[in-house]
Every structure is written in C-alpha cells, then in structure tokens.
Amino acid sequence: MSIPSELAEVESKPAGPAQVREHPPPRSRRKLVAIAGGPNCGKSTLFNKLTGLRQKVANYPGVTVEKKGGLCALRSGRAVELLDLPGTYSLRPGSPDEVVVRDVLLGVQADTPLPDLTLLVLDATCLDRQLYLCMQLMEMGRPVIVALNMMDTARDEGLDIDAGLLSRALGAPVIPISARTGSGIAQLRDAMDREIPPPRPVTRRLPEPLREGVERIEKTLPPAGPLAALSRFHVAMALLLDEGEDDSLIRAVPIPARREVMIVRTRLDAEIPDWRSHEPIGHYHAIEELIRKATLRVKPEVSLRERIDRVLTHRVLGPLIFVLLMAVVFQSVFMWATPIMNAIDAGVSALGRFIAPALPAGPIRSLVVDGAIAGVGAVVTFVPQIAILFLFISLMEDSGYLARGAFIMDRLMRGVGLSGRAFIPLLSSFACAIPGIMATRTIDNRRDRLTTILIAPFMSCSARLPVYALLIGAFIPNRTVGFLSLPGLVLFSLYVLGILAAVLVAWALKRTALRGSRPLYVMELPPYRVPSWRSVLITVRDRAGLFVQKAGTVILAVSIVLWFLASYPKNSEVRPLEKRLEAVEDGAARAAAHGSVAEASAKRAEATQLENEIAGVSLRDSFAGQAGRLIEPAIAPLGFDWKIGIALLSSFAAREVMVSTMATVYNLGDADQTSVSLREKLRHAENPRGGRAYSPLMAVSLMVFFVLACQCMSTVAVVRRETNSWRWPIFMVVMMNALAWIASFAVYQGGKLMGLG
C-alpha cells in the first residue's frame, strides 16, 4: 500500500454479523426499527403512514424530547415496533433532541433498547446535506435501510436519482418512496421484514495523529457491554468529537476509555488544531462524489419556491401578509373557539343537571356535579383552542410557511433574546396560555423554548378579561382623556404591562437561569409543499389528546381539591337558613297553587336570596374562606381584604372564577362581570371600621396583580407536561407571584403616598 506520509488508511471495524448474532433479539420481542432523518424530510408523514393510528407518545426520561412509537404490520403477519426519532442533521449532537437521537441509535438511551434496524429517510429533492447523517450511520456498523422519499416530487421538478447506484455505493438497500402518496411503501415494509446485514466497513483516510488517537481509544473499549454491537471506529470517533452538550455517551464507557479520550484530545489540539474539521470535510468530499455519480438529471435552480418567496418574504408584502395571517389565526383561536367553548360549558352544566337528581342530595352529589363534572369541563374547554391553533400551526409548518414567518420575525424577537419562532406561541397566549405554551414545541432551541414558556402567561389571556371588565366597570370612571376613554386606556395599559413584564423577565432569564453558550440560529427554509390533511389532523388529534391525558389529570385533581376547600367544613349557621329556605319554597309552591302570582314570585325571589346567602355563608366559612382570612395580612399591603383573598385563591381554578367567587361572597349567587348589582356591591362594600372596603386604587392594584400573577392551575399543569418536570412550573409560580405582589405593593402604597387611596 502506498500511503502518503501524513495519511493512512483506516478500516473501521464494525461488530460484524458474527458478533451481532451473539445477541439475537429474544423471540418474544418485536424487531425495533428507529426512523431517523433530517428535519423536513417527511419522516413523520412516513411514520404516520406506516403505523396508521396505532401510535403512542411519551417523553424520554428527564428531557422535554418526545418519544413517538407505534406498531407497523408486515405482510408476513409479524409486526415491527417503530420509533420516530426527532429530526437531526448529525449524530454529533448540538441540541437535547440530537442527544436523544444519538443515544437511541448507539443503544445507550436508558429506556430504549438498541434498535435492530435504522430506517433512514432522505428527501430526494435535496439529497446533498442529508447524506451527512447517512455517512455517519453507515460508519456505525448497524443495519440500515434508506427510504428515498419524495421521489415523485423530485422527478416532477426535473431531478432524477439512480437508487440502484446509491444502494451499491452505500452498501444498504435504497427504496424510492413517496410517503404522501404511499408509493413504494409496500416494498419498504417487505424490506423491514427481511434480515438486513450491517453495511460493509467504511474506509476513511485520516491524518496520522488522528488515526493513531482513534486506534488508541478503540483499544480501551470493552469487548462486551452497551456499545459492543457497534463499530469501534464509530464509537471512538463519537467519543472524541462529542464535547459539551451532554455526557451520556462518555458515561457509557469505563474510566480508562474516558481518560484516553481526554489524553487524545489534548494531544490532537496541540498537533493538528483543525482535527475536528476532518470528519465534516471528509464526509462532504465523499458526498459530492456520490451525488455526482448518482444524479441522473439536475433540477433547474429557479423554481416555484423562488416565485412564492418573492412575495411571501418581500420587504413590504412579506410582513403585511404575515400580520394578516396572524390576525386570522388569533381571531380564530379567540373567536371560533368561543361558541364551541360555550357549548361545552352548557353541555357540562346540562350533564350536571341531568345527573344530579339521580344522586342523593348532599356531599356525593356535590362532589360529582360541582367537583368532578366541573373539573372535566375545565379540561375539555381548552380543547377547541388547542385544536384550532394546532390546525393552523401544522398547516403552516407542513406547507413550509412557518419557517418564513420565523425568518420575517426573527429580527424583532431578537430584541427580547428570542428567535422568530417564539412569535406565534406568544401571540396565541393572548387568547390562552395553554395552547400558546404547547405551541413552543416548534422552537428547537431548549433555552429559547423554556424562556418562551415562562413568559407566555404574562400575555393577558381571555380569562383575565372578565376580571378586568368587572373591576374597570365598578371603579374606573367613564371619562375621556384626550380622545380616548379612560376605561379603554386602562385596559390597554394592562395588556402593555403584561408585555413589558414578559420582556423584562425574558431579559433577566437569559442572563441568569437560562444563560448559556450562544446557540446557532440556523434554520432550514424548506420548499413549499401541499400539506397532507391526514398528517395535519393526526397532529391536531395528538396535541389535544396529550393535553387531555397528561395535563387534564392534574387539572381534574386540582379542581376536586378546590371544590373540597370551598365546600367544607359545613357551617352550623347554614342549617337554620336551609330550614327557612325550605319554608319559603313551600310557601312559593302554595302561593302558586292558589293562583296568587305576585306572592309566588315574591316568595321565589326571597328563596333565591336565601340560596345566595347560604352559598355566601358556606364559602366564607369554608377552608377557602379561612385561607382567605389567613392570607389577609400578606395581601393587606396591596389593598386586598380577606374576601378578595378567597377570590384570589379560588381563581387558581381559572382566572375568571374570581368574578363568580366575588358574587358568591357578596351573596349575589352567580352574577357575572356585567352585573350592575355586583359592581354596586363592590363600590359600596364596607370594611370592619365602617369605611369603604375598596377604592379605585385597590382596583388598579388588583388588576396589576391579575396581569402578573400565575393563578391558573391549567398553565401550571401544561408547563409540567411540556417541560417534563415540576421544577419549571414551581419556579414559574414563585417568580410570577412574587413579581405580582411587588408590583401591586408598589402601585397601592405608591398611590396612597400620592394621596390617591
């Protein structure tokens, strides 16, 4: 062999078929097939096609990365287990998603066995960069099938690929498919049914010190254990090149190997400072050659996308179209969902009324109707908003527009330290933080995503509006300031306050808790595609289903706890009132029977008043009422009394509950925010010293509190689900409520100092 002085041939030594056969999958276990591929390669569409509706979504332990699995039936009657991995550019991870992909494919992911086969999906219309992952996979020494997706589109665009040549060059089956139309899927299933041998060892030329270093690491690798079924060369390269992001791979090898990796790195840094570039440069040289050989026809450069992009990312038209589209999305989440949500509310109430008579009056009936059914209602009302938002998001994502929107908004969002992708989740949060927080899933950077999740609840959501409406209606005089009305101005200021708080918190988080190395904001601008309805609908169903399953259970449990706190202990004063109520109701029935309409309606009015009084007494003396009194010293400096304390506590079920709680506390039954009597009651409510209990200053302080405080159990539950830990929701509750307290304190005490109280 004639070897240039600085270059030497390196043969990777994969485990080889003999070694793989040492650990055959147990008969009882199905073959595990991992689906890998770059972002936008059509991986998820293929996964949906192969599994149909039999899918399961979970989280990988300890991270926010989703684990999507499903079964795929084969012609032989057997089935394989499919695992849809997150989109990835490289096996040398740069994000938590890519860490999971690497760990799964290398068999060091805790809850997932080493896949028996990797199904690599490549978008035939832009093979070049996607072959990078392919090159890395081939080196790994595990069986691979390549699905050459969108072959139909590629041919339509004038591009043709020689799949046979590609297959021979890669040493793996290459199957042209179209995940959208389903062509080639049968061949793909059959290929998965066969025993696929691992690809033949790849030859790579490495400069001498690097070759020697890799060999030294290979020698320290144990002959058995988690990584033994992989090519030693690949494992050594992975250990050498994986720096920073995480340590799950390095922890999978024994101490001597770890030490060797450190020694080799230090030596290489001294001898060839550029050694890290060797892998990308080498792979891309190989890719260029492969593409040259396998491409039969090249596609013309100016295509449909260019014509569309000239409009959609135009200097003036681009932002205009984006704003219009966002207006439609926002209006839809806000308005379209409302009738459905009202219908659900009505349905839930009807269900309660329907079931109530079947249960004995008393605690059981109350638990079922006011606790459980109301709790289920609280969960279900979010579903329309989530479904509508995700309908739009998946349409935009699958068509390729989402990336253009992020491209347009990036400069603006950078002011807050975020990227263009954060815009839609934050905008949606003005309707409701629940779908907004769920939409942060389109943000690929972990720190940006967490920051967006944590500031989303500051956007004034629709549940705050009834609270604002009640307090503004009761305490803000309807005057005009210049050409603006004062109530309108106050409402606008509340929205601005929320945005300012979000900006401030994002800025602070980026400098403290979520500080870190500057990520690379490189984003692919995929070609435009007609979205597949099937995929879009599956996404919508998954999102809504996951919310109900994962966040819904927490919301239901908290609803029942809140019901208990507001209903117990039963008060002794209630008994005589209930006796009186029965008497009055009897009287009303008698009067009605005697035909004296006036007397009957008077009695009925008295009965309603008594009912309201019973509800008021029960709530005031319940655990919730006691808690309201307990926290009074803490909220008194903000201008709030214990009755508002009860309302603050019960609004944890949902912010708008504050209004009905105040109505109950003031014996008004279930008056709403437009009720004149409730506004009057609040205006004229007295404190124990005989003075006015509430002032306009208190109202402002209370509204500021509602803008900033995290009083929504559903938000907490959904943050728990989206971050896969209790750490961030707890941090959020503490941070937001501390901020709310401080701001309200400043408003109330500052106002009093200025003589406004």
Partner: protein, 86 residues
C-alpha cells in the same frame, strides 16, 4: 464594470457582507470549536459554493442557498464564515 471594482469584489469577505443575489465560495469557518464543527456539518465546508438569496425584510437574517437547501442564518453568525465572491 471597471477592472479595479471587479478586483475589489473578489476580495475575501464575511458572508454577512454579501449583497442579495450574489454568489461566493466558502473559504474558511472561524469561531469556537463546537459552533465551527456545527456549521461545517451543516455543509459550510471550504470550497462549497453558496448564494445569498435575500435578506429578511428587516435586513437580518439572511437566506442562503447551499448544497441544494435554503437556510436562514443571522448575519452575526454568517460573519464567522469567510467567502470569496465570484
């Protein structure tokens, strides 16, 4: 175009300084090792032809065409990449 001007155009510059619609060849990627490797893995290896397709409405980020794919990249990041215009 006059020859001196053409010469000036051929000088190595930062990717972020290219005009919309112009083409260049990647010459060098600089910066911290992790980010540098990442950019190279994405296809920014020396010798690769590249086109700055357009700038976003607010001037930043920029859209690039590289190896058959389009990317959005911030100018601050693009400036780690030295290119030779042609």
């Amino acid at each position: 175009m006059t020859p001196p001007r053409a010469r000036a155009d051929r000088r190595t510059r930062k990717l972020g300084e290219l005009e919309a619609g112009s083409r260049a060849i990647v010459r060098r990627v600089s910066g911290e090792p992790g980010l540098r490797r990442r950019l190279m893995e994405l296809g920014f290896v020396p010798g690769t032809p590249i086109k700055l397709v357009r700038r976003a409405p607010m001037g930043d980020p920029i859209e690039l065409r590289l190896r058959g794919t389009h990317f959005s990249i911030r100018t601050s990041e693009a400036d780690r990449i030295d290119v030779d215009p042609f």
